[in-house]
Symmetry: C2
Subunit: 206 residues, 2 copies
């Protein structure tokens, strides 16, 4: 049913290549030409397939966020104990942030942290904010479940605890991008988990 000349590239793999460039250089410092080169296509094909640079970024962001969210949700569900679940997620986050193949850190964090408020379009800001929120939603739900399960001190404010772990994750991203080693960041995670509000009946967790 598809008439006309068929596309010579796979839009999803091309998006992955674009993502890598955005991750390494950031949105502002990335040129459309370098994107086209990395994607193995020429600029008109890029514009035809994705619209423009910003739309391409948002598409890549969605793809990235979906992958991250799925992985996190799986990890949070795998452990029955809330504290262990969160620690597993943080440890996996460190692994991802210090992956040699990537530029270090999280795309969403990097782009949120590192640039203009006015310069940026509304669509861009909304997409970043939405990605940030979606990422936190699973964590928030898991913390609430932990509270229900008695894995948390009774009067714990789940919103605050979620903001705390969001802070730690954002910080890990920054330090990873700054070249900190996986071992150092794993130790940071262990320290960060000391803030977990254990219920009274427990003395400590290994």
């Amino acid at each position: 049913m598809t008439r006309g000349r068929p596309r010579e590239f796979d839009p999803d793999t091309a998006l992955d290549h674009a993502l890598a460039v955005f991750e390494r250089d950031g949105f502002e410092a990335t040129s459309v030409q370098s994107l086209a080169d990395a994607m193995g296509i020429c600029k008109p094909s890029l514009y035809a397939a994705y619209g423009n640079k910003e739309a391409l970024f948002i598409a890549a962001l969605h793809r990235y966020a979906a992958t991250c969210d799925a992985r996190r949700a799986a990890l949070l569900d795998a452990e029955s104990d809330g504290r262990r679940a969160v620690e597993a997620m943080l440890t996996d986050t460190v692994r991802a942030y210090t992956d040699c193949n990537s530029a270090g850190g999280c795309l969403i964090v990097s782009q949120t942290a590192g640039a203009s408020l006015d310069t940026r379009s509304d669509a861009m800001r909304d997409a970043l904010a939405a990605a940030m929120n979606d990422g936190r939603a699973a964590l928030h739900a898991r913390l609430q479940r932990a509270r229900g399960d008695g894995d948390l001190l009774g009067d714990t404010d789940v919103d605050v605890l979620m903001a705390y772990f969001a802070t730690v994750m954002a910080g890990l991203s920054v330090l990873a991008r700054n070249g900190e080693t996986r071992e150092a960041l794993t130790a940071v995670v262990t320290t960060a988990m000391r803030a977990w509000p254990l219920p009274d009946r427990q003395i400590s967790a290994s």
Copy 2:
């Protein structure tokens, strides 16, 4: 002794204006023209006084870092208890990051987090890394003193604890830039301080 026409602007105030622009828009998205406008001078004066855009950024960065470091050092020294000293510093950090007059967050963190590895010059990377390290030095020293004072559990690894607080501070910067309120971030600080390794003899700290 100074011959020739005198300068019509104060280099330090001009630097402060430049800093504000860099903080708001980031290095890459800031144009030299917008800097000159904000500084109230014209481009040739800017180039004559500071060299080029990058040198101007580094000068502004030094000024910013010096201010931050001085303030932090003072706060860390003001409290005799190590835990309280660090908490005071973090609380003040939140206050600074959520100051309405600023763009939110820390310039060093924003610039470290949000951009290119290859695109950036060596001088830029070095300046950012140095600023980051200097900022941590005072904290590291304070933690070591706390350990000597018995404010820390005996076998605490000071390097790890410093990396942890650096992570929290970087995360606070990201969340502040993302528009989180001062109250929310203050609550995060309280939570973060739960990770402080209290010595055995103490039960808890208020």
